[in-house]
Structures are given as structure tokens and as C-alpha cells.
Symmetry: C2
DNA sequence: GATGTTGCTGCAATACGTTGCAATAACGAC
DNA sequence: GTCGTTATTGCAACGTATTGCAGCAACATC
């Protein structure tokens, strides 16, 4: 991490170290607010603005990615095995991942039809799951 | 409007009348915050909570639909001619609509593969447009 | 180890939205 | 028109996220 930051003229600070530690212990998806809270557990003096700004930096480095839940709140995930989108059932609150394969249809359609490059990590689709219909 | 509400045991209040008036003059997409602002122009005593709660009611009635911009903020649109999704370029801020046809691929894939019913109005896809690549 | 540069932090203010609760008022019934 | 029921409002507090700015500190250089 330290080297990745330095390579871009950025700095390795205690606050960043704390967030990276928190992230390394995180699996699956987390909201930004939860990450702030977990950093506070480590260091109660943690400020939200610093956490959110650090998350932006880490996203630029490709360490994390974010999307938004059905309510628009940020959801982060760390170093996913494979890029994927997100599926949420409005009725039961269930959440699933959309694989690149599954999304290939729309990604290809927008690519060839409009020359548009889709950010699959940021895609969230909301609706009703089989059980809730 | 009055009858649609009464049919469900709901009430036709001045505050709802004001929002409906504002909406009737609205074309395309608007953020929730802008709607609050426009209601305030008509009646400065307007409260955000009332506006947002009324928007929920109107959405249940099918009068409006909402999605979220790339930043997660709410975007409403009134009685669209056809249901559609939303496409945003992260670089230039450009926005386009995704027709039902264009989205048919993914909607069908999730439907047949998982029995999932997609809410296309709520779909927002972010990435880079042809010009910005 | 001291010094200068400049990226980062913390603070305070702001924006957007939601929620609990007590008071209000729309509505139907008489 | 009056009255009772209960949906709705307005308020205050809270949750989530972003931004400008002044002071601080990580880093490279010597
Ligand atoms: Mn939503
Ligand atoms: Mn986003
Ligand atoms: Zn469900
Ligand atoms: Zn663009």
C-alpha cells in the first residue's frame, strides 16, 4: 500500500493505515457509514470526511469499488474476486451479485450500440425476487 | 387525483395539491431537492418531510417513479411515455435514457434465470460515453 | 537531524433524506 | 353544521455524505 501511494506522490498516514486495516478484515459489502464506525472503534478520533476521502483514493487505486443500495447509500466492496453488479429485492431486502456473464448482454448492447463503457461494479438493479413475487 | 386518493382511504390536502401542481409543470427528470424547492416557491412554509412523504404516496399510485443519480441522489420523473432506465457518463455528466428494448436483454436474463422482476425505472448505469473514452 | 514543500487532516458548515411524535385537519356520518 | 376518527402535517433530531479552509505532518533533500 505504502508504495502504491508513494508512486503517485501520495502519503501513507496513520488514518489511511487504520482504514486499510479495517478493510483487510472486511468481507463482502459494507456501507460507508459502517466503515466510519469501524475506524472509530480503532481510533475514536476518526473523522468521517477523512474516511470518505480516503475511500475515494483507494478506489482510484483499484483497492475498493463502490455502488449504491436501493436507497442510494454507498456500498463498498474490497478487492472482489471478479467484477460484479448488484441485485436487490425491494420486498425481502435480499441481495445477490450479478456476474459479468449475466450482465454481458446489456454491457455488450450499450458498448456496441452507443460506444458506452459500463462500470459493472456500480450497477444496482432493484425489483422483486422469485419468492416475493 | 382526489378520487385516486380517496379510493385508498387517503386524503387530498393543500400540501399534496401543491406538489401535484408542481409536478404537472415538470418535464423530464428532477431531483427530490428541486421539487422541495419548487414547492417552497409556491408555499414557503413547505416542509421537506411532507414533500418526500407525498412523493412516496404518488409513487405507490404510479404517478411518479424514481431512480438515483451516480451520486445516489433521488431523481423523479413524472408519468413517462414509456418505462426506461438511465445512463450517466461519469466524465462529462451526460445523461441518456435506456429504452425497454435496449434493456430487454438483461431484464429477460434475470427474469428467466432467477425469476427476478426488474424495476427498469430505478435502473441507473454509470460509465463513460463514446466521446469521453 | 533539521528544513521546506505540499498532500492530508479535522473542523465547521452545508446538502439531502428519513423518522418519531404530538398536534392538526380532512373526511364521512349524523 | 357538528362531531369523531384517523390520515397527515410540521417539528426536531438524526443519519449519511460532501466541501472549503487553515493548520499540520509525511516525505524528500540536504
Ligand atoms: Mn430508490
Ligand atoms: Mn456512485
Ligand atoms: Zn425478495
Ligand atoms: Zn461523457
Amino acid at each position: 500500500m505504502r508504495e502504491r501511494l508513494h508512486a503517485r506522490g501520495l502519503r501513507w498516514t496513520p488514518q489511511r493505515r487504520a482504514l486499510v486495516t479495517v478493510l483487510s478484515r472486511t468481507h463482502g459489502h459494507v456501507t460507508g457509514a459502517v466503515l466510519v464506525e469501524r475506524c472509530r472503534e480503532q481510533d475514536p478520533s476518526t473523522t468521517p470526511s477523512t474516511v470518505y476521502r480516503t475511500l475515494e483514493v483507494l478506489e482510484e487505486l483499484g483497492i475498493v469499488r463502490h455502488g449504491h443500495g436501493p436507497d442510494g447509500r454507498q456500498q463498498y466492496h474490497v478487492l472482489p474476486d471478479a467484477e460484479h453488479g448488484h441485485l436487490h429485492c425491494r420486498a425481502c431486502g435480499g441481495a445477490w451479485e450479478i456476474s459479468a456473464d449475466e450482465a454481458a448482454s446489456i454491457v455488450a448492447a450499450l458498448e456496441s450500440g452507443r460506444g458506452f463503457a459500463v462500470d459493472l461494479s456500480h450497477v444496482t438493479i432493484v425489483g422483486r425476487c422469485r419468492d416475493c413475487r
